[in-house]
């Protein structure tokens, strides 16, 4: 692999992710609308909404500190970085060796800390409420996420995402029961970390029930647009991470330009199915009572640990 090709791949993928992420959000919303017998909004609605927000003047609370203004950029940067580490189209990513799966979880944690601090910064009661709940969910979701990733790491003998995906994608088909457990746990963490039903409701207007939305209530205009964009990239990153770990077939190998078109098609199909699946799950489930969220995430952790034990027990 030449460095230039690698960098080209890396840049291409980073740009691709940032531009395409809101489309996935639009697709999920469209599927949700269909499943509820409603007329669906345009696929491009998230783009329109962000364009509208970028044209508005930001209103910022008088007591807001620079942290409050800085946070949307930090969030956006973190999510973009995360998306740069996850092998979306190809496994040849020059940036990837700089950060392994543990660092990836750390990047998400960094974003969480900033959004919680910014929520408390302006001192409204909803911000504090949301930040508190986010930390409750976060500190339970992170270990479950790490355990899931470790299961995959044990199979491939590395915590490098590119190595893991290379190992899983480009070798003879093999059924790993441990990965099955890890996949379920990962799905549960994905729902919790992306503020989806049953842990949070991204479409609610009820301030008192919000988790993620409560933290960003005071944001407007370009700040809000960046946060919404970051949320879309985060969902995209999680989904592609799940796909890379559990359904990696079709991803392009190092420096293989010819495999790229197939990789794009494969990714598109997988994301469309995953988005529809997410919408289906969200239509079937009601939101859990807040105090059942710890149980939900404990179950995810337990499944991830079981997956890891399974790996040692059956060597697969």
């Amino acid at each position: 692999m030449t460095t230039t090709t690698g960098i080209a791949f890396q840049l291409l993928q980073s740009l691709f992710v940032v531009l395409i992420a809101p489309l996935l959000m639009g697709w999920v919303n469209r599927c949700r609308a269909w499943l509820q017998n409603r007329r669906a909004p345009s696929l491009l609605l998230p783009y329109y909404a962000m364009a509208k927000l970028f044209h508005k003047d930001a209103v910022i609370a008088r007591d807001a500190s620079p942290l409050f203004r800085l946070t949307p950029y930090v969030l956006f940067g973190c999510m973009w970085l995360a998306a740069g580490i996850v092998p979306v189209l190809a496994t040849a990513l020059p940036f990837a060796p700089a950060a392994d799966v543990i660092a990836l979880v750390g990047v998400f944690a960094l974003a969480r800390v900033f959004s919680a601090l910014a929520a408390m910064d302006i001192g409204t009661s909803f911000g504090g409420l949301g930040a508190r709940r986010e930390m409750l969910i976060g500190f339970l979701a992170e270990p479950a996420m790490l355990m899931t990733l470790f299961t995959a790491a044990f199979i491939s003998g590395s915590t490098q995402l590119t190595t893991i995906v290379n190992t899983l994608a480009h070798r003879a088909f093999e059924v790993h029961p441990s990965l099955l457990f890890a996949a379920v746990a990962f799905l549960m963490v994905l729902l919790a970390e992306n503020a989806r039903i049953p842990i949070d409701n991204p479409t609610t207007h009820l301030e008192l029930t919000m988790v993620h939305e409560a933290m960003i209530l005071e944001y407007s205009a370009r700040h809000l647009a960046l946060i919404e964009w970051a949320v879309a990239i985060k969902l995209f990153a999680y989904m592609t991470l799940g796909i890379a770990l559990f359904l990696p077939w079709g991803i392009a190998a190092a420096g293989d330009w010819a495999a790229l078109p197939l990789a794009v098609v494969a990714l598109g199909v997988k994301l469309a199915l995953a988005g529809a699946g997410l919408a289906l799950l969200e239509s079937l489930l009601a939101k859990l009572r807040l105090f059942l969220a710890p149980e939900f995430l404990s179950a995810a952790f337990l499944l991830a640990v079981l997956g890891m034990l399974m790996h040692f027990l059956v060597r697969g």
Binding site: N37, H205, E207, L208, A286, K287, R289
Partner: protein
């Protein structure tokens, strides 16, 4: 049968519901209220009026519900010492009504020890000065005042880790304004204090500027989701005053409209309750069903929410054979759809888990607080003015009263489903038995000082209108009473010990009116 009260001679009030009235002095007034409270009666409404023009100072009326019907006890309050005995110790629901009576007329309730139970304003938010009272007859309705800063003293909860969340009056959704002050520890609710009155628009004052007939239109606009109930209650009161007797057909049509209003609101609420648990599917389905119903209303009766369809003397709409067929077909179809939705709601583990034991209003608390309507029925009190005392035409249909003992959100969902089914059945029965007759009868003269009462079981609970005729067919005093007066305080009790994110669900399960109680 006339109810018996110690030292009180009751005179019947003519009209469609059994009602009596009497005047008493302060000691007997209070003793009679105590007698009713001990006998298991309750306070339906309390209001004051300015009678200085008659030389009798002010007047406070306590409307009580006893087994036989309604009893309106009137108390003269001297002009130079406008105080009267406090009823909040007997009926907790009286507390806010007494505060509103002071804000509007300037008569104070005093406890036997001589202090005011709660001197804070209720409807006055600084829009008029403390010493001005809008319902006094010398108060100029068009006048303006410099606005004051509203410094309302909420009750402080103290202790380790307790903090407050103020919510509203501006909310994130398109709902009416009300302020909720939560005192919490972590996510647990220690206390909720409501502050209402943001929608005060001087409806009672406005009534006094209208003729008795024009008042019907205003009555229908007190709370938009209960426009049929209010219009009927007002018409009932005015027909009692004038002695008019609407035809059996008009009464049947009124009942039909009232049941349609009930079904529409229950459908909407069931949808919202699903939505508040993030079950958007339920929301979409119930709101489609509600929308179909509203469109049928528009097509057959000329108004989606049936506003101004009930007028004093009868109704302003009719149903022909084709219309009746369409309505029966719709009722049957809705019944099937509702059955399917009921089985989904009852069998959805996630939804049931959110609703069962959430926001419990115990039967004991409901009785103590004098809760009425749907909330009372879901807490074990099967009261329904359609069934008892039963007003025409419901006395012919024997409506089934749905009730549940648990008093939680799930119980209020069950009662809504059961009432919607019963309402659909009643609609079919009403249409089958619809007699011939004129839509509207002439009203006749309203003698000055004549008094009438309207008592209608709306979808939320009993809607009461007390009406007094003035000279030349004008309104001297009209007090419309929403069931929300009794049920808002119950919400404060139902949320105790629940967690903050469950409050919107509990609130929605009561779905109380802001406009109806802010007046």
């Amino acid at each position: 049968m006339t109810p018996t009260l110690p030292n009180i001679v009751l005179a019947p009030v003519s009209g469609a519901v059994p009602a009596w009235r009497a005047e008493a002095d302060a000691a007997h007034w209070r003793a009679a209220c105590e007698h009713v409270a001990q006998a298991g009666g309750r306070l339906a409404a309390l209001w004051a009026s300015d009678e200085r023009a008659r030389g009798t100072g002010y007047r406070v009326c306590a409307l009580l519900v006893v087994h036989e019907g309604l009893v309106c006890l009137e108390l003269r309050v001297p002009q130079d010492a406008p105080v009267y005995p406090d009823l909040a110790a007997l009926f907790p629901a009286a507390g806010r009504m007494q505060r509103a009576a002071f804000d509007l007329v300037g008569v104070r309730a005093l406890r036997p020890e001589g202090d005011v139970p709660d001197p804070r304003p209720w409807l006055r938010h600084g829009a008029w000065p403390e010493d001005a009272f809008p319902l006094r007859r010398d108060f100029e309705a068009a006048g303006t005042f410099p606005t004051e800063l509203d410094r309302y003293r909420f009750v402080k909860v103290e202790g380790e880790g307790v903090h407050e969340i103020p919510v509203g009056p501006v909310h994130a959704g398109t709902i009416e304004p009300g302020h909720f002050r939560f005192s919490i520890v972590g996510e647990k609710l220690l206390r909720l204090e409501e502050r209402l009155g943001y929608k005060h628009k001087g409806i009672e004052k406005r009534f006094t500027a209208l003729s008795l007939e024009d008042g019907a239109r205003l009555a229908g606009r007190i709370s938009g989701d209960s426009t049929v109930a209010y219009a009927w209650a007002y018409a009932m009161a005015l027909e009692g005053i004038t002695g008019a007797q609407p035809s059996a057909r008009a009464l049947g049509l009124r009942a039909l409209l009232l049941e349609r209003e009930r079904v529409a609101n229950h459908l909407g609420d069931l949808g919202y309750l699903g939505n508040d648990c993030a079950l958007a599917f339920g929301f979409a389905q119930f709101w489609r069903m509600k929308e179909d119903l509203l469109r049928a209303n528009q097509a057959l009766f000329g108004h989606r929410y049936l506003m101004d369809r009930i007028v004093p003397g009868g109704v302003r709409c009719d149903v022909d054979a084709a219309g009746a067929k369409r309505l029966v077909g719709e009722a049957l179809r809705l019944k099937d759809e509702l059955r399917a939705m009921r089985s989904i709601y009852y069998n959805h583990a996630g939804l049931q888990d959110r609703c069962i034991t959430t926001g419990r209003l115990t039967p004991r608390n409901a009785a103590r607080l004098g809760v009425v309507g749907l909330a009372a029925r879901a807490s074990g009190h099967a009261m329904d003015a359609r069934a008892h005392p039963g007003f025409a035409p419901y006395d012919r249909f024997s409506p089934k009263v749905a009730s549940h003992r648990n008093g939680d959100v799930a119980a209020r969902i069950v009662v809504r489903f059961e009432e919607a089914f019963e309402s659909l059945r009643l609609q079919r029965v009403i249409l089958e038995q619809l007699a011939d007759g004129p839509r509207q009868v002439p009203l006749g003269a309203a003698p000055e000082g004549a008094f009438g009462l309207g008592w209608v079981e709306g979808w939320r609970g009993e809607v009461i209108v007390a009406l007094e005729a003035g000279a030349d067919g004008r309104t001297r005093r009209c007090h419309p009473h929403d069931p929300s007066w009794q049920n808002w305080p119950a919400l404060e009790h139902a949320v105790i010990g629940n967690i903050v994110p469950d409050f919107p669900l509990i609130n929605k399960s009561f779905n109380l009116s802001y406009s109806g109680q802010d007046l």
